[in-house]
Amino acid sequence: MRLSKAKLTGVLMSALGIFAVACGGGGGGGGGGALAAKQILHFPVFQDPKTWDPGKLDAEVDSELVQNVFDNLWRYDNSLNIVPDIASKVPSSSNGGISADGLTYTVSLRHDVKFSNGDALTSKDVLYSWNRAVALRGPYRSNLSAIDGYTDVVTEGKKFCAKGADPTVCATSVQTALAANDPKFAMKGLTAPDDYSVQIKLATACGWCLAAWSLQASTGSIVDHNAVASDPLNWWSKPAGDSAGAAASGQVGTGAYKMTEYVPKQSIKFKRVANWWGSPKPTLTEVDLDIKDASTMPTAIAAWEQGTYDLDGYGGNSTQPVADILRIKGNSRESKELLLKPKGRTTWVSFNIGYPSTGGPFVGESAAAKGLRKAFTLAVDKSALASTVCHNLLCAPATGGLITKGLIGYLGDGSDPLGKFDAPTAKSLLTQYDPDGSKTKNLKYSYNAGGLNDPVATFLQGQWKDNLGISVQLDPHPDASAFIADRLLGKYTMSRDGWQFDYNHPQDWYDNLWGSLAAGSNTSGYADPTGDPTVQPTYDSTLMSADGKPISEALSLYKQLAISQQNDVAYLPLYYSVGQFLIHSYLKGAGSTAQADFYWDGISILKH
């Protein structure tokens, strides 16, 4: 029996009809400016919340979501300027908000701020939130470390939180102490002269504090003590209740949105807070998130192409699969909806400089160690890396210092001598300092596998082979957490390193990555006298001096540090990351800064 063409077509169409289920159409071009009737934003995220408690939060995906729920005294706008949030103005010496010695900040709060449950926000909430964040000893507590009395509260908090072998004991004990106004849990430098004023006295001058206190969804954020009291450990994981006062419960904040539903490993829903105190009033009525696994990113992109998702890339997910981004870039319609935005993330290679026990040819500040570091650095063509590995889409060559372009402390395009490619000089340095190759044989380059790290490692291996004649063994680590743990302890001779800034201030880089302040997280051991007393003793003193000055005066000192790092060849710069966002053209106001997603309260959906 033979089927005719017509019958065959009929059979096929019937099969498609049975199998395929009709759904709404996909996204299209932008409308003419009129708003769509349905203002529900839908996008995927690729990680469950680790915690949404601002006192303990440390994951980008979490902060980018609940920055819409919790407010700080100040916040970053879409150009990374610090602007008032709950406070009525940004304090400065000129407006009297900062004392002449730089040690006292006087903050006036807005009088109209309310939590989503209707509780009015007063200065007591600020004191409660900041003291609580310090006592909980979360990863970002040091943002408040300059406040007088900080160390005392950390010590008290440790009594509960380090010995209980039970997180519930920690959270409940801290809550009980704070509710009882236990003075041991109150930083003495943090006081409330009245209901709408906060005075912050610092133990030491601090030029970076305002930047750190403004970091969204972190230790500077304000929480409702009544809601926390309802469940001190897990209050943040429950939908915000509408009851005020002692009956408050759930994830209550002062932001424009509140969490109304959370199904672990599946979905999260946020809804607009009715009669929100801020302005302009948000347009989106609801934000629906699907929680997906990172392995399904290509599927999520296909769903975005179908129109199921309005955008993709929010929630700390702006590093998309390369093949999909290239495909979209090559599609004339979809490429218009691809937003490439430099993110504040730099990747470099760290040499082991300050850990003699780990060893290797790069240890110390001898001419030979520096010369070999420089040889390995100049042997890498950073522009070629950006074009071959990143297709000039996913990253840009790091030629202006380690602080990313667009941030305070960026040194300028092409200003970093370590960002240059000079194969002849590299080869001559190698010949000079390792003429028989004995120092540089059996070298390993260690990195956490996955993403761009694999092709970057292969590229580096090729560059060192081609330009120096050295065979470097690749040492991939499938488990990132184990790799990071060993890397921070200085266990690798050469390793992938990187940093994504938290707040827009050079201190965030220099304190956390090098010198004795970074002890325990100083990958290279550079300028850390605890590892090698001979390295850079002046680094710490210059850094501390810079940290205590206003940014206008501190910049030249931070630049000195950068130049000394370049002279010492403390790193091999590779690339600045570029985030990829897929945003349908009917979305107005969606985008990203180098730090975080734009707030949802500025987004609206046009007719499409």
């Binding site: 498609l16 289920v21 380090a162 957490s481 921070l488």
Partner: protein, 317 residues
């Protein structure tokens, strides 16, 4: 149910419990021995990290941790997630198990339904175009890996069909809500069940060909019984025995396959959790998922063994 059957069931359940203990301890010891943990980050390391590990009791010897874990599991408590702080695992994995069962059940229906239908049709139309077509289809089914079928399915029904029909008819890729609708379920279920249905088709066809050449079938036809009755009542029932014998392994194959399929389609089931919990060092979830899988496989095999007795009265325990 005879006394012997009850004793047999009791023995098998005892064996399942022993298996679960061995599996859970093995997995517990293995995942706790993998370098790294769920807490470390560039902001949490050194003494602070040690404090957190101490808080969660992760700095104690593995047998001590396992004993505590086991005591809680006996009370139906699989503990809390390390990644989602404060999240109870028991309701989470039970929900995910139900999602996986929806998908696995759908795949099993496709496996058995389509596989047997095609097998019977191929046998009774032996050496015709029907036989050749269905046999070819079966060969393709068990030759092509499920992840290839899934990816092709998304491409064809999710993207190409949408373009072809101007966005009116297509497979919607993202899975909304906890459980899938028929519209969301059919493609992952087909991708998951096609491999096993191909096997069922082959075995059913072979079994049917063997049975329909038996004397008693010839006798039934000689007595004038309608062909449909001979096929369904006499031939198919006896052909079911070999088919049933492979159902146990097929269920295991479907469970294993669901790990890949759930990840490709983003289905919030146990298979997706299986991978995610391992990579995230969420130890308690990993052990719970492994243990549930082991229990599921044990129970499925027991159920298949019991079905034998219903199909073939000669089999007794």
């Amino acid at each position: 149910m005879t006394r012997g059957t009850l004793i047999y069931i009791g023995q098998r359940i005892g064996l399942i419990v022993v298996t679960l203990l061995v599996v859970s301890f093995g997995v517990f010891a293995a995942v706790h021995s993998i370098p790294g943990n769920a807490f470390i980050s560039e902001h949490l390391h050194g003494q602070d990290l040690k404090d957190v590990l101490h808080q969660f009791g992760l700095d104690r010897p593995i047998p001590v941790q396992y004993w505590d874990y086991l005591r809680n599991v006996v009370h139906g408590d699989f503990g809390q997630s390390f990644v989602i702080q404060g999240q109870d695992i028991t309701p989470l994995v039970l929900r995910e198990l139900s999602v996986s069962m929806e998908l696995g059940g759908s795949a099993l229906i496709i496996t058995v339904g389509m596989g047997m239908l095609f097998g019977v049709l191929a046998a009774i139309r032996q050496n015709t175009w029907v036989d050749y077509t269905l046999t070819t289809f079966a060969v393709i089914g068990y030759s092509v890996p499920s992840f290839v079928i899934a990816t092709l399915g998304i491409l064809v029904f999710g993207l190409w069909l949408q373009d072809l029909t101007g966005g009116t008819v297509y497979y919607k890729i993202a899975w909304d809500g906890t459980y899938g609708t028929i519209g969301e379920l059919w493609l992952p279920a087909v991708a998951l069940g096609l491999y096993t249905s191909g096997q069922v088709t082959r075995i059913t066809r072979a079994a049917m060909l063997d049975v329909i050449q038996q004397d008693y079938i010839r006798t039934a036809r000689a007595k004038g019984l309608p062909s449909r009755v001979v096929t369904l009542r006499h031939a198919l029932r006896n052909a079911l025995v070999p088919v049933t014998s492979i159902l146990g392994p097929l269920v295991v194959t479907i469970i294993a396959g669901s790990v890949i399929i759930e990840n490709i389609f983003g289905i919030p089931g146990l298979g997706k959790e299986f991978v995610r919990s391992i990579t995230a060092h969420d130890y308690n979830i990993t052990v719970a998922v492994f243990t549930l899988y082991a229990a599921l496989i044990g129970v499925a095999n027991l159920a298949v063994d019991l079905v034998y007795t219903a199909i073939d009265p000669r089999i007794r325990y």
